[in-house]
């Protein structure tokens, strides 16, 4: 079967690549586009390691067909830093020990960024709700919640 060209925006840059028939966005981003930040954890929409935003909405890229992002704005954890300048969330995750193995971290950061973009002053419950689709097996979540709240409360270093 023929491959399908997909033109979209990835972390602010125009991209075009060929998608295999039936290829999901996760596999497409990793294999065809070369953005390795989204991770495979389950392939069935339960772990959140593949979380990206599409037009500002958090989505599980393992459940999205690659062709569906034609013309859309896709953002991954690779786009959080601007050059050598990290997103405050990335700094806060480092300072709060909010990652151990690091495998859930890219998806976790995307969910956290999406939360702060729509609600810059979330409460603890908002943070828990926002990352409820991202499983972490190492940290027990508390350091992650603390890191996100530190940014929200302006206590993290910029």
């Amino acid at each position: 079967m023929a491959k399908t060209p997909v033109t979209f925006t990835l972390n602010g840059s125009a991209k075009a690549a060929f998608a295999n028939p039936g290829q999901n966005l996760l596999d497409f981003l990793r294999r065809e586009v070369g953005d390795l930040a989204p991770k495979y954890g389950c392939g069935q929409g339960t772990c959140g390691a593949c979380t990206v935003t599409i037009d500002g909405e958090t989505m599980l890229s393992c459940l999205v067909l690659a062709q569906a992002v034609e013309g859309q704005d896709v953002r991954t954890a690779s786009g959080l830093a601007t050059g050598a300048t990290l997103d405050p969330l990335q700094v806060a995750f480092m300072d709060h020990f909010a990652a151990q193995c690091g495998y859930c971290t890219p998806g976790m950061l995307v969910s956290a960024r999406a939360l702060l973009d729509r609600n810059p002053r979330p409460g603890r419950e908002d943070v828990i709700e926002a990352i409820s689709g991202n499983l972490c097996r190492c940290t027990g979540y508390e350091p992650i919640i603390a890191a996100i709240l530190a940014v929200a409360n302006g206590k993290a270093r910029a």
């Binding site: 390795l36 480092m94 971290t105």
Partner: protein, 565 residues
């Protein structure tokens, strides 16, 4: 980096405890610090095994047993080989040395597990063929087209059912479904003092049965490996393994090639928790590369991770304690059944570790344990965070609460009463040093708002131990229960590797396969010194009555080395 959080110090130092055990000019401990690998984690650049891209990557998927226990009459891969995208289908015949036990690298245990089973399967999900195809979907479709003729066998899923006479033999080489320890016994023994004599003089005998379930490590990154041909006839292998050299040695053994031809790259592990030591993916991925000349990835999907990924093994414990009216435990007996599942993996070792830990952190003058590594037709068990210890610790601590209830005592005070103190003799005949359970229990009570009586509030690990509590039992009751013959007494595995493997599929033997025909009969344990059983010590007194710990004893601190206190 000290202004990271506004919540104050992350570690509370108690200046009153063990002050002479540590220096206060610590460089890292007690201060927030960044992980050395965390920049890669937060930028999504940490190189996990699957983050290495290869042109022409092939994908491997396994055909698996749908049965708990079955003999393989025939494996027909012809249909799978004709499926779109299929490059090669592997069966056990393609594996140079298709039998291994993980700890054979330490010369411990019989080779018992094939990489791809040829004659028999012993658990649901056991792999019998590996399909290599251009895409994962093609490999998946072709794996389901591998046809196997099965002869379904009776199976056993419960540890105590498995060791009854007449139970189906999970592994031909352990016909009684029990691992053989030290070439002598079908269980691991601990004998210290005489529990049966002690039980006769106690106020309460408290019994309990405790059952722990298997627990899946469930790392967010599933287990996997990618292998590719390298220059100079070498193979590179990117792997999620937690045990790089374990996996390297296992791959070299099963593929029968020198480890110098294998280039392993790992160390970035997307969560392991013990579940990434089994070294299954590396040999299969490398074998796929050897036979196709192309890069091959073998990784579990989530369903496989959860179903065939080896969990923490289930454990069943029976504990019988002899307790005096004042709460002092004077005898403790364990019968433990560790569910290894279908193959040994690391369960045999978990039990050795667990038995070394008995009877928990308590000074008990009479201890007995028979712990069995039992084979069942369940998923093989392996390592997971403190395996061998956590299960029995749950049993012990639940039992401590039961004792507290029986004697009508505060459960924290009961633990302080029975806790190891410096200088006490432990059941495995080593002196207890640097004890801290009493201090931990006191802090727990304080944090939980539990008021301890002054006597227990004043107790310390540094006093009250030693003396009579340091004495070895005058008499230890021993026995020859569970004695087996026919296993080599010193070493389980021959150095020659595969040739020592018992023939799989051989008729289930009424005797274990003779691994090494020992010229001389196995050495019998030396006769026990004849001591009157009445000498079994029964400590009933409160430890606080004992004379203080020997002053000036050498203490070891990992920080300051040996030091006299």
């Amino acid at each position: 980096m000290n202004d990271m959080t506004s919540e104050g110090p992350m570690v509370e130092f108690r200046k009153d405890l063990f002050a002479d055990e540590r220096d206060d000019n610590l460089n890292e401990v007690g201060k927030p610090t960044r992980r050395q690998d965390i920049l890669g984690h937060v930028t999504g650049r940490s190189p996990f095994f699957d983050d290495h891209l290869f042109n022409g990557l092939l994908h491997m998927r396994c055909a698996r047993s749908p049965h708990h226990h079955a003999r393989i009459r025939r494996i027909d891969t012809s249909a799978a080989e004709k499926m779109p995208g299929v490059v090669r289908v592997l069966t056990g015949r393609d594996v140079p040395v298709n039998l291994n036990t993980l700890l054979s690298l330490l010369d411990f245990g019989l080779d018992d597990e094939p990489l791809l089973s040829e004659t028999k399967v012993a658990y649901i999900g056991e792999p019998v063929a590996a399909v290599i195809a251009e895409t994962e979907a093609q490999a998946r479709a072709a794996a389901s087209a591998v046809h196997v003729e099965w002869e379904v066998l009776p199976h056993v899923l419960d540890v105590e059912e498995a060791i009854k006479p007449g139970a189906p033999a999970v592994l031909d080489i352990y016909p009684n479904n029990k691992f053989v320890y030290h070439g002598k016994y079908d269980h691991q023994k601990l004998r210290y003092g005489d529990v049966d004599a002690a039980f006769r003089g106690v106020d309460h005998v408290v019994e309990g049965r405790y059952q722990m379930s298997p627990i899946e490590q469930a790392p967010i990154e599933t287990c996997g490996a990618i292998a590719a041909p390298e220059q100079n006839d070498r193979y590179v292998c990117y792997t999620s393994t937690q045990a790089l050299f374990f996996s390297l040695g296992t791959a070299a053994k099963m593929l029968k090639i020198p480890s110098s031809r294998l280039h392993f790259i790992g160390g970035t592990v997307g969560g392991g928790f013990g579940g990434k030591v089994d070294s299954i993916h590396e040999p299969l991925a490398i074998l796929g590369t050897m036979l196709t000349g192309r890069p091959v990835k073998y990784a579990w999907d989530r369903a496989e991770e959860m179903q065939v990924g080896a969990p923490r093994g289930a454990e069943r414990w029976y504990i019988t304690d002899g307790v005096m009216a004042n709460g002092r435990i004077v005898a403790r007996k364990f019968i433990g059944y560790f569910d290894a599942g279908a193959y040994t993996r690391l369960s045999s070792y978990a039990i050795i570790k667990g038995v070394g830990h008995l009877p928990g952190p308590y000074t008990i003058p009479n201890v007995y344990a028979d712990v069995f590594c039992v084979y069942t037709n369940r998923t093989p068990a392996t390592a997971m965070r403190g395996f061998g210890i956590t299960g029995v610790d749950f049993a012990i601590e639940a039992h401590m609460d039961k004792i507290a209830e029986t004697v009508g005592m505060n459960p924290i005070e009961l633990r302080i009463l029975n806790a190891y103190r410096d200088g006490d003799m432990k059941a495995h005949r080593r002196e207890a040093k640097n004890c801290a359970l009493i201090e931990c229990a006191q802090v727990v009570a304080e944090k939980a708002g539990v008021t301890l009586s002054p006597e227990f509030k004043a107790a310390t690990s540094m006093t009250g131990g030693g003396g009579a509590r340091a004495a070895l039992p005058a008499f230890t009751a021993t026995d020859e229960d569970g004695r087996v013959e026919g296993f080599a007494a010193t070493s389980y595995a021959k150095k020659s590797g595969a040739s020592s493997a018992p023939v799989p599929g051989a008729a289930p033997a009424s005797r274990p396969a003779r691994v090494q025909a020992s010229a001389q009969s196995p050495a019998r344990p030396a006769a026990q010194p004849a001591s009157p059983p009445s000498a079994a010590p029964v400590h009933t007194a409160d430890p606080a009555d004992k004379k203080p710990a020997r002053s000036g004893a050498m203490r070891f601190s990992s920080l300051s080395g040996f030091r006299r206190r």
